[in-house]
């Protein structure tokens, strides 16, 4: 992005009528163009909001970080440079670089790094942070020639690496990946000596632009995609199964098809992290079944669900896979070596990210793996991630069973041995609750989304309560699948957040939750801050079952009506935590 473009984006954003969202840029240098680029990048990522980017005092990084505790910023970018750790590591101060100074510089850097760590730690309860560790080259202050590394420089970098490793473990701190920064901004093209000396701003424009883009992405923290659908022939493996047969397909060094093995390894990793992996292949189903049973397949057969193998259009396969996963098209990535199939799927599902598998270009294939990491990346792998696929399989089996005539739904649910554990403990916040609130679309009361900080504010409200529901039946656990939050207003219970994972549908969990609320709270009526949205049909259907159509924005469901109309419930409900 050019500076002119950034200024124009900021100017346009300032004209928005919406309420401003406050962010903070904490750095020790003059923020100047970094402030402009960061505001512009945030505006691009958050187009519905008016971005207000505040900055602090020149030369006081520590003070600027500490000021966040009393401020009202939703998130902050903290940009640390060498001169913030010891001014002699910059070029604006003339405190000396001689050999006698180096031990003292190192000592000073250690102490300042610790102070910064403490300041950041004190701040994270109030505001989420995006942190950039020093990006500029060290000045030529130690004795070895530039091509030879010095113990002094290793010691300096070691301190910062330790700081980064510690900060990266905190879910509310997001540390910028130096490897990605290096790929986009050459280290030798970062320092602007004239600008630093004259204006106190150390970065060249390209570096500023790249740094701002990555910081904005850290602040925005985009939701990862949920599922990946892959083609088979010349994608998951090398060769056309229908032509070369089971023995002819390969993914190894011997057959010069190793890149397909790496691709399988990448998919296996994603599956282990909770990403849903499905197959859409124009192929003979029996042959595909045989190929997927091969013992040396790196991606396990049990990690793939569902497999769509037939001769029909790929878009039909995608349609069925989306239904089986119960996710929106925008959560899915489709990978195929055929441009025609990619185009056909894209035409049917414009929201699906369609990516070509570059079977003849290993370098491009490697870049594809990096793209997949970006699309599916998440800070931590939760318990829910590890059981997602299995619970989907069970949900699918449950749907099929419900459609059959052998058992009625009631008798099936009665025999399921279901338990619902409701956790009322608000603090410390369970990250899964916010994850559910921000990811769920279908069974979602109003689509309200929260940042880390606004969620914390909500939880800290003494009048509010939240319930995080975990479900388990004799077929296994579904994990934490629903969040319900609100407050008591006299004889009415007001619910302003209610989300439930699509994996939990068809078990009457939603009915059991409302039943529990009427049981626990002395209210005659529950009011819901409902908003109809294009994608929250399942919750609309739930309410319409009691209240009919049309649904009003503040729905009220009385105890009497609920008890009259609710279906039989078989879930054993247990409450833990006391808020």
């Amino acid at each position: 992005m050019k500076l002119l473009e950034a200024l124009e984006i900021v100017k346009k954003g300032n004209l928005q009528k919406s309420e401003g969202t406050e962010f903070f840029l904490a750095c020790g240098f003059t923020p100047l163009h970094l402030q402009t680029f960061l505001a512009a990048q945030l505006q691009l990522l958050l187009p519905q909001r008016r971005i207000e980017l505040q900055t602090g005092l020149y030369g006081d990084l520590l003070g600027n970080i500490s000021s966040l505790i009393k401020g009202t910023a939703e998130a902050a970018a903290v940009v640390i440079e060498w001169q913030d750790l010891d001014p002699r590591l910059g070029i604006r101060r003339l405190g000396g670089w001689g050999p006698a100074k180096l031990p003292e510089i190192l000592e000073n850097l250690r102490a300042q790094t610790e102070r910064i760590r403490q300041a950041i730690e004190a701040t994270t309860a109030k505001v989420s942070l995006a942190i950039s560790l020093p990006t500029l080259p060290l000045p030529p202050l130690s004795s070895p020639p530039g091509w030879r590394a010095s113990a002094f420089e290793f010691a300096l970098r070691g301190c910062l690496d330790s700081l980064g490793a510690e900060l990266a473990q905190d879910a509310r701190v997001r540390v910028l990946n130096p490897q990605r920064l290096d790929a986009l901004s050459s280290p030798s093209e970062r320092l602007d000596v004239k600008s630093e000396v004259v204006n106190g701003f150390p970065y060249r424009l390209h570096h500023t632009s790249v740094l701002a883009e990555l910081l904005a992405r850290l602040i925005q923290n985009p939701q990862p995609r949920k599922g990946l659908v892959t083609d088979l022939d010349d994608t998951l493996w090398s060769g056309i199964l229908g032509e070369v047969g089971l023995e002819g397909i390969s993914w190894d060094l011997d057959h010069h098809s190793h890149i397909h093995g790496l691709y399988q390894q990448m998919l296996r990793t994603l599956a282990e992290e909770g990403v849903l992996i499905g197959v859409a292949s124009k192929n003979d189903p029996a042959l595909v079944n045989g190929a997927l049973q091969k013992k040396n397949l790196i991606l396990g057969r049990d990690q793939i669900f569902p497999v769509e193998a037939h001769w029909g259009p790929k878009s039909e396969s995608l349609h069925r896979i989306l239904k089986a996963w119960n996710v929106g098209a925008e959560s899915v990535v489709f990978i195929d070596d055929s441009p025609l199939d990619l185009a056909e799927v894209k035409a049917a599902f414009p929201e699906i990210e369609c990516v070509a598998f570059p079977k003849d270009d290993p370098q491009a294939a490697y870049q594809l793996f990096e793209t997949l990491r970006d699309l599916f990346g998440k800070q931590t792998v939760s318990e829910e991630d590890s059981i997602r696929l299995e619970s989907l399989r069970r949900a699918s089996a449950l749907r099929e069973q419900n459609q059959g005539a052998t058992h009625s739904t009631d008798s099936f649910l009665e025999q399921a041995g279901a338990h619902l554990t409701l956790n009322y403990k608000k603090l410390p916040p369970d990250p899964r609750a916010l994850d559910l609130v921000n990811k769920t679309n279908q069974f979602n009361l109003n689509g309200r989304r929260f940042t880390d900080v606004s969620w914390l504010r909500y939880l800290n409200d003494p009048d509010s309560f939240t319930v995080l529901a975990a479900y388990e039946d004799k077929f296994g656990p579904l994990g934490k699948i629903a969040v319900l939050a609100g407050r008591e207003e006299g004889r009415v219970l007001l619910i302003d957040i209610w989300v439930m994972s699509c994996r939990a549908f068809s078990r009457r969990i939603e009915h059991s939750l409302i039943d529990h609320l009427f049981d626990r709270f002395p209210c005659e009526e529950i009011a819901f801050e409902f908003a109809a949205m294009p994608r929250n049909g399942p919750i609309q259907d739930f309410f319409a079952g009691f209240l009919g159509q049309p649904l009003s924005p503040r729905l009220r469901l009385s105890r009497k009506l609920f008890m009259e109309k609710r279906p039989p419930l078989f879930i054993d409900v247990k409450e833990i935590g006391n808020g």
Partner: protein, 84 residues
């Protein structure tokens, strides 16, 4: 390529968000209230980037109005400034 005058107007409008297009050619340090030291650095950096030139420290003090900057740009021998 758009002529330098139009490109310079675009730079001024981006940097000075309150400035009206019809007033740009008359803009100077004295007439534009937002033209402080930070705006000056931003304006000259945008001009450097837009016209692919490097301003020397000696030039900076004299570039205090739209007309002076335009005159300066016309005097710079670069194809980035001259319309092609």
């Amino acid at each position: 390529m758009v002529d330098p005058r139009t490109r310079l107007i675009k730079c001024f409008l981006a940097v000075f968000s309150q400035l009206k297009e019809e007033d740009v050619t008359q803009a100077s340090v004295a007439s534009v209230i937002d033209w402080d030291s930070v705006a000056s650095i931003t304006l000259l950096t945008v001009i450097e980037e837009e016209f692919s030139i490097q301003l020397s420290a000696d030039d900076l003090g004299s570039l205090t109005s739209f007309e002076k900057i335009l005159e300066y740009l016309k005097g710079v021998n670069t194809s980035n400034v001259t319309p092609s």
